[in-house]
């Protein structure tokens, strides 16, 4: 009996560190993280709040990519396209149809869900690198399509659309930046919670089984085609919602915001944070938002380099950061934490 009960317990309940089980630690960290996130807007300037809102937006987009690439094993270099669709859905709804900003999120998500699903269907025939190339085409085509004459009336063409900055509701004593931060945080928490449940469900196991061994998964009766397409859809849903949030916090969309480079940034954030990880997406968001700025700062500090020349070195420094992280944490920052943990825990 006792053995049975023990067997059903997960390692997180058994392993101890400093008197607490790992599960308890997990809750403790979650509580600490949430408290920090909630307190943040009151301790820093509006500009920093805005930057952290961007972190959250990128984290949501990267989470979408993690679900697809990390958990399901499908490559995508085209997530900038779904981000763009989400952003433009929000912008067009707000600009032309005067829809309140919060209603644009579910719509942007659903449109991307179907766009992702439909793109996922034919893409199913493509494996690995070929799928990566197909999605690459999507990323390259999207900015061009947004400028297309027939849709120009809606998308604003090259000039893009400028939006109004939303004010906090119910006369809350918050600045606009603080409100946008909390709004994004709430949406983010909901989406992270959903992703966590998805991954730890039957469906989630099926999704991962397809990644690990597609033939075995099919043998066990998993409809791999459907699962892969829907994973693509869900992934696009996440990135689309992030795109809509991005449009709301930047208050501007233009085709040039959604180039292939953005898709690469998502991939970088995803790999750096830990691609088979849910909290890893947050590290990814932090990296994508802050490391370019830090690199720009550091480039000017390099001794013997003139200020003008330093402008060209930002991305070199960024590259060094990237290489460093890939060496130190080959499974991403979340993976690094996971790797370090066993050194401290005991049964």
């Amino acid at each position: 009996m006792a053995n049975d009960a023990q067997a059903r317990r997960e390692p997180a309940d058994v392993l101890h560190f400093a008197g607490l089980t790992l599960r308890q630690w997990r809750w403790l960290w979650l509580a600490l993280g949430l408290a920090t996130a909630a307190a943040l807007p009151w301790t820093v300037s509006n500009f920093t709040v805005f930057q952290f809102t961007q972190v959250l937006v990128y984290a949501i987009a990267i989470l979408g990519l993690n679900l697809l690439t990390g958990f399901n094993g499908q490559f995508s270099l085209g997530h900038s396209a779904f981000y763009a669709i989400g952003a433009y859905t929000a912008a067009i709804l707000m600009f032309h149809l005067k829809v309140p900003y919060f209603w644009t999120l579910p719509l942007a998500g659903v449109i991307c869900l179907f766009a992702g699903f439909l793109f996922g269907l034919p893409a199913l025939r493509l494996e690995g690198l070929y799928l990566a190339l197909a999605t690459f085409a999507l990323a390259v085509a999207t900015p061009q399509l947004l400028k297309y004459k027939a849709v120009e009336h809606w998308t604003g063409g090259v000039q893009g659309l400028t939006l109004k900055k939303p004010s906090p509701p119910f006369d809350l004593p918050l600045s606009k930046d603080q409100w946008l931060y909390y709004f994004t945080l709430l949406v983010g928490l909901l989406l992270f919670w959903c992703a966590w449940n998805l991954v730890h469900s039957r469906t989630g196991r099926a999704i991962q089984a397809i990644r690990d061994n597609p033939i075995a998964a099919r043998t066990m009766g998993i409809n791999t085609a459907m699962y892969k397409s829907w994973t693509f859809g869900v992934s696009a849903f996440y990135t689309g919602v992030a795109g809509a949030l991005g449009a709301i916090i930047i208050q501007f969309v233009a085709p040039d915001s959604f180039t292939f480079f953005l898709a690469v940034l998502f991939l970088v954030g995803s790999v750096v944070g830990g691609i088979v990880s849910i909290p890893g997406a947050i590290f990814g968001g932090i990296f994508v938002t802050f490391i370019p700025n830090i690199s720009e700062e550091l480039a000017t500090q390099i001794p013997g380099v003139a200020e003008e020349a330093a402008k060209g070195l930002t991305w070199t420094v960024y590259g060094l950061f990237l290489i460093l992280i890939i060496y130190v944490a080959p499974a991403g920052l979340a993976g690094l934490l996971r790797m370090l943990l066993p050194r401290f825990v005991r049964r």
């Binding site: 930057q51 400028k147 930047i250 208050q251 501007f252 085709p255 040039d256 003008e308 402008k311 930002t314």
Partner: protein, 408 residues
């Protein structure tokens, strides 16, 4: 006694005057101290438009010179220029950093139409001067709705009006054929021509208007159509790649005409050489800056000054690049604005002085072109001169045109 009293009186009056003057003198807004003025900027130092990045570097180099020579009214210019990669969201982030964290006194020469669009409302809400932006769109000179944003170079519409004035004067019975890029840039040029010719004139003179998409492979068929329409004046609104194609095709099918080429494609190396110099003879365009590769300026004092400055402060820069002339010229507008502001360096006064440039002569503008702004005129450079391609270089000709097409 009497004398002492008078002296005291004069002394105290002088003191009162001096202290009054001092009070009026040192009014500082954010980003200004007795020692420095912080000026913010974003440029595409990376990404697809990074070739423009040299403008930001040239401006940095210009302020380095200003600082070495003692600064402006004794204050050093702290020019903070950040990379936006030509990405609107990044531009917004960097600009918010400049305004909210670095607390710059003003933003100067932020580059790009999409990037400036992303920060346009923000700057006007934050009431921070958004000066002399590096884009030719017409919307930057709208002081009624956007009193904190000001353009710099002649707008795309200006060229259209100048072309119209030239046509009306020299070819009043012209049959105009137009080739234009189907976007805001192309339409701005088209609109300028329409304003210049007048609605009726436009209807009467324009016999064919052909558009192309920036994604099209060639414009050959449009050029053939224009020839077939019987047009004898070619108004060519194309970016460099298509400009070269159009010049070549028009020549090859034997369509001889008066050829007015928009100023963004005025580069000899990027447009006329690929098209073929023999096929480019007689093409007309407009300019407002001295072309550093034009031998006309070999002995010109301003050109020599520019060369010396390049050698000393920006030795890595390309001396054949007109972008480095552009940076050098526009930086003088900022310098002049701050000079005029004197010791009243509030954001309001900086904006007021930017809108109060009177017949200011920035070096390396074409001879006769001056900078003028007023509270209702937020277009600093509005004059251009026509030039015709002869042999291997552009030759300036005719008078200086104003933005409305009149000549001075």
């Amino acid at each position: 006694m009497h004398r002492t009293f008078r002296l005291t009186l004069i002394g105290s009056a002088a003191l009162a005057l001096a202290s009054g003057a001092a009070l009026a003198q040192n009014k500082y807004g954010p980003g200004v101290t007795d020692k420095e003025i912080k000026i913010g900027n974003t440029n595409p130092y990376s990404g697809p438009a990074s070739s423009y990045g040299t403008i930001g570097k040239a401006i940095s180099a210009y302020f380095k010179m200003v600082n070495e020579q003692g600064g402006i009214n004794g204050r050093q210019i702290n020019f903070i220029s950040l990379d936006d990669g030509y990405q609107p969201p990044k531009a917004k982030e960097q600009v918010r950093r400049l305004v909210e964290k670095d607390e710059v006194a003003a933003l100067f020469q932020t580059l790009g139409t999409p990037t400036n669009s992303a920060i346009h409302e923000y700057m006007n809400e934050a009431k921070v001067p958004h000066l002399f932006v590096a884009t030719g769109a017409t919307k930057w000179g709208n002081p009624k709705e956007f009193p904190w944003t000001m353009g710099f170079q002649p707008t795309y519409q200006t060229f259209g009006r100048i072309a119209a004035a030239y046509i009306l004067k020299n070819h009043p019975n012209a049959k105009i054929g137009i080739l234009y890029q189907n976007d805001d840039y192309g339409k701005d040029y088209l609109h300028g021509l329409e304003l210049g010719l007048g609605k009726d004139g436009y209807k009467k003179l324009v016999v064919s208007a052909q558009s192309y998409e920036v994604t099209d492979p060639t414009v050959d068929s449009q050029v053939v159509n224009l020839k077939a329409s019987g047009a004898d004046v070619f108004y060519n609104i194309t970016i460099p790649k298509f400009a070269a194609q159009a010049i070549r095709k028009a020549h090859d099918i034997g369509w001889t005409q008066v050829h007015l080429l928009n100023d963004v494609s005025g580069s000899v190396s990027a447009v006329l050489k690929p098209a073929g110099l023999d096929k480019s003879q007689g093409i007309i365009t407009a300019a407002y800056l001295k072309d550093p590769t034009d031998p006309t300026w070999k002995d010109d004092a301003e050109f020599k000054e520019w060369t010396a400055w390049m050698n000393k402060y920006y030795p890595d820069g390309d001396k054949a690049s007109s972008f480095n002339v552009y940076g050098f010229t526009v930086a003088q507008l900022m310098e002049q604005t701050l000079k005029q502001a004197g010791n009243d360096l509030t954001r309001e006064n900086i904006m007021k002085q930017a809108a109060n440039l009177k017949n200011f002569r920035a070096k390396m503008l074409l001879p006769g072109i001056q900078v003028n702004t007023s509270p209702s005129d937020f277009y600093p450079v509005e004059q251009m001169q026509l030039q015709r391609f002869e042999g291997e270089t552009w030759k300036l000709f005719g008078p200086i045109f104003n933005a409305d097409g009149s000549t001075s």
